[in-house]
């Protein structure tokens, strides 16, 4: 079998480098021969070739819904791609506890909650509650954490208030409602508020989670880490411990990347089958 050229990859339809892609979209015009042609031309305008409009249907009175296939000549150099992600080793439970004992010598205070108007707690509960998810126990299971779950609809002010009161080491903020990037707005407001607040530990770790969340996005709103669908509690636990040790002792990334004694397992994006934060859609069934 021919190997893909990682310096010039293309979509795979039926064979390597055929560049076939599938589309579905709607135009605000009713179906007609002209509408079909318009859909085809539109895809060609986007740079696609061999456009086939395989279905055109009326939606309502004045819309046409298309399903189409087309090919692309464009290629991409995969070797040049880099995505920022939290780097930390995943070490077994008992070693993690030992690590906290040796390096920090006390329990870490972890406060979690879903902020803003968001009523969903599935994600934060899966990470925090002892039950965990997919057999992976939640942070409450770790004696090295003192977990406070504020659950849903926590205002940013309350979160900060509790963080001050309990001297939080890490804040976990879950956001499920993502319409019009509402979640990013909330998170930005929180980081602003934290900046203005005096008396918080300087190493305070900010972690965001949710169906539309990833590490890069989290960094962009002033957080230190972001976790998306499929995240396991053990990943979050390891991130908290390693990152806090780094922040408290200013060791930089050396410590975590050297691997030291323990087995070094790089953090990989888990398979996307069951989403953790993403079980619920925003704005869904009840208001």
């Amino acid at each position: 079998m021919k190997k893909p050229d990682l310096k010039a990859i293309r979509p795979y339809g039926d064979h390597l480098d055929d560049g076939i892609m599938q589309f579905s979209f709607t135009l605000p015009i009713p179906p007609s021969d002209e509408a079909r042609e318009a859909a085809k031309l539109y895809l060609e305008k986007l740079g696609f070739t061999h456009v086939q409009i395989v279905s055109m249907e009326l939606v309502g009175e004045e819309f046409a819904f298309f399903v189409a296939y087309a090919q692309s000549e464009a290629t991409l150099n995969f070797t040049k791609i880099s995505v920022p992600k939290p780097e930390f080793p995943i070490i077994p439970h008992d070693q993690l506890l030992k690590r906290v004992q040796e390096k920090i010598g006390r329990r870490l205070v972890v406060i979690g909650g879903t902020t803003g108007s968001d009523a969903h707690t599935v994600g934060i509960d899966a990470i925090l509650s002892i039950k965990g998810i997919k057999g992976d126990k939640g942070l409450e299971y770790y004696p090295c954490f003192q977990v406070i779950n504020l659950r849903a609809q926590v205002s940013n002010e309350r979160l900060v208030e509790r963080a001050l009161e309990l001297k939080a080491d890490a804040l976990l903020v879950s956001q499920v409602v993502t319409q019009q990037d509402q979640h990013l707005k909330n998170l930005r407001e929180l980081t602003q508020l934290l900046k203005k607040t005096h008396g918080l530990p300087p190493h305070l770790l900010l972690i965001a989670g949710g169906p539309r969340m990833d590490h890069r996005t989290a960094l962009s709103v002033g957080f230190h880490g972001g976790f998306g669908p499929g995240t396991l509690p053990s990943q979050v636990a390891n991130f908290i411990v390693h990152e806090l040790i780094r922040r408290m002792h200013g060791h930089g990334k050396k410590e975590t990347s050297s691997g030291r004694v323990e087995e070094h397992v790089p953090h990989k994006a888990p398979p996307k089958r069951l989403s953790l934060f993403g079980w619920l859609s925003g704005g869904g069934k009840g208001s």
């Binding site: 579905s24 709607t26 249907e57 009175e61 969903h120 319409q179 069951l274 079980w279 859609s281 208001s287």
Partner: protein, 578 residues
């Protein structure tokens, strides 16, 4: 009843016709907020009545002058009759209006055959005018019910916004004007398609009773209205919710609106396989609380959902068992069946398959209202094309499997029946536990949706009013009187069959009737052929869900009805149960 709430008092004002707004805030809010607490404890009606008797003139104009501060609440003493007379006249008029609304609705659906399950879709653009475009497209694609999703967290705003709105987060604000715009658009399209299109909104959150009033006035058909949803999922105070739901349901009952309860939500926080007894238990509680507020069985759109983990072997059978048992336990309720959300991952192709099975179970178990799942659930609010895809799937499956339910009987000791039995037994145990501790305590212990809520906690507690001895609420008094003439609602239950089915099918099939769960007079009113068909359906299947001689499953409904073991917090006793 020891408490009222600011929202109940505002709803009273709205029923009396005070629906305008001043400086961006509804007059109803201005009035209730400006009235000193010791006066509010007697009810807004007492004091607004005095104001009317003193100053005369149009109630709205008077309310405006009070809001402007031109008239104070320092009103002269007067005899009770003088102060009450103007209010009683308005209140009677309001109740008459609600009854007319119910009657009008009944006429609209009379003779219109709409196949069941009714196809219910959501629009949520944030702009009411765009919502209209999407709703029209959906109706032309086969939708029977249009729900306008509210802007995120509207349920936590302590007033109802005013006027048409074009911006919202994740939905469109529920306002009286938005209701009117959408109702008008749906009436227009109803004529075109020859079906009656139902309009849905949310009588929930801090303004539950007011939305019930506005929804009734503007001809809404379904209102999401749950006795516990706000407590569990919105962290609204229990006393507030129990008072609010009672008054809102009195209004809803009279206006012939169908409530949609929110038990399906429990399955979004807990796994359906284990949590379904909570759903069924909550159905019994919602049912009893609804009955206490004059809501008839035909108005109880109890909600449940297809939410089981698809990786469980035979999950489809368990879903069928659950849907079927709810159908059989509440034969007169226009059940609302909710689609998968928890296991929708963004893989819209698999999601479409899951939704298709959900549609099959819906038609197979004869649900009344099917909230269509969207392939793009968990990604974004449905695009125009998502809704079209979803309707196409439902149109096909409902049509292709129209009579499937008539052909099925379940193996007497098979997985479906056993599942239903075990759910029923667990439900009974749960209700017994609730009975022991009382409903409020049960909620605070996390018996429902795995949420623990404190009796004195949550939002809106500051809006709970302890009633003074002289408290007076003429609307509540009028609405608590049982309906003399029973107005059937849009429970056109015959329509599970397509109209072309000859009516005689039901005649030679007069199977013996199963035991009536509750022979309320409302059941007797159902037009004969429809009622007949309904009973036929109930008796058609082997009734194995209830094991003979086992008191644990002898009929939890009767249990609750007879002894009220769940201590449904009759609105008299938000305190008593705590």
């Amino acid at each position: 009843m020891r408490h009222s709430t600011v929202s109940v008092e505002r709803a009273v004002l709205r029923l009396l016709g005070i629906n305008d707004s001043y400086k961006g805030k509804p007059l109803a809010n201005h009035l209730v907020e400006s009235l000193p607490p010791e006066k509010l404890a007697q009810g807004i009606s007492v004091w607004f009545g005095r104001a009317m008797a003193t100053h005369r003139g149009d109630p709205t104009a008077l309310a405006l002058r009070i809001a402007e501060g031109k008239i104070s609440w320092d009103l002269p003493k007067m005899d009770m009759e003088t102060s009450r007379r103007p209010i009683i006249a308005l209140a009677r008029q309001a109740v008459r209006r609600l009854e007319e609304i119910a009657e009008k609705k009944r006429q609209l659906i009379q003779g219109v055959h709409q196949a069941r399950p009714l196809k219910y879709v959501i629009v949520a653009t944030g702009n009411i005018h765009d919502d209209v475009v999407q709703a029209r497209a959906a109706v032309l694609g086969g939708a029977d019910c249009i729900a306008v999703i509210r802007s995120t967290a509207q349920s936590l705003i302590d007033h109802v916004p005013h006027g048409a709105t074009t911006q919202g987060f994740g939905g469109t604000y529920a306002t009286q004007e938005n209701f009117r715009i959408m109702r008008h658009a749906l009436d227009d399209i109803s004529k075109k398609v020859g079906r009656y299109i139902r309009l849905v909104n949310y009588s929930s959150g801090l303004c539950m009773p007011e939305i019930a009033v506005l929804g009734a006035i503007e001809g809404l058909d379904y209102l999401l209205n749950d006795s516990m949803y706000g407590i569990l999922f919105r962290d609204i105070n229990m006393k507030r919710t129990f008072c609010d739901q009672y008054f809102s349901r009195l209004v809803i009952a009279r206006a012939g609106i169908i409530i949609n309860t929110g038990e399906d939500n429990y399955l979004t926080t807990a796994e359906s396989f284990r949590a379904f007894p909570q759903v069924l238990g909550s159905h019994f509680i919602n049912e009893q609380l609804a009955k206490a507020a004059q809501v008839r069985e035909e108005q109880m759109g109890l909600g449940h959902a297809f939410e089981m983990d698809p990786t469980i072997e035979d999950s489809l059978l368990y879903e069928i068992a659950q849907a079927e048992m709810v159908r059989e336990i509440f034969p007169n309720a226009p059940l609302k069946y909710m689609p998968p959300t928890r296991h929708m991952t963004g893989d819209l192709f698999f999601g479409h398959v899951l939704d298709s099975l959900f549609n099959l179970v819906g038609v197979m178990t004869q649900q009344e209202i099917q909230l269509l799942g969207m392939p793009t659930e968990a990604i974004h609010n449905p695009l125009l094309q998502d809704r079209a895809m979803s309707l196409k799937s439902a149109n096909y499956i409902f049509h292709a499997a129209r009579s499937l339910s008539d052909e099925i009987s379940w193996s007497p000791n098979g997985k479906v029946i056993r599942r239903a039995r075990s759910v029923l037994e667990d439900t009974h145990k749960l209700l017994q536990k609730v009975n022991q501790v009382g409903l409020m305590k049960a909620i605070s212990l996390g018996y429902f949706a795995n949420m623990t809520r404190d009796v004195e906690g949550g939002r809106g507690l500051d809006g709970v009013i302890r009633k003074d001895q002289g408290y007076w609420n003429p609307l509540q008094e009028l609405l608590e009187r049982p309906l003399e003439v029973h107005l059937p609602t849009h429970g056109d239950r015959s329509a599970h069959r397509a109209p072309h089915h000859p009516p005689h099918r039901s005649q030679h099939r007069s199977a013996p009737r199963g035991p009536q769960r509750d022979a309320s007079p409302s059941q007797e009113r159902v037009e004969a052929p429809q009622g007949e068909r309904r009973r036929r359906r109930r008796s058609r299947r082997p009734r194995n869900f209830r094991r003979e001689g086992n008191p644990a499953v002898a009929g939890p409904g009767q249990e609750v009805t007879a002894r009220e073991p769940a201590k449904p917090p009759t609105p008299d006793s938000p305190e008593g149960t705590s």
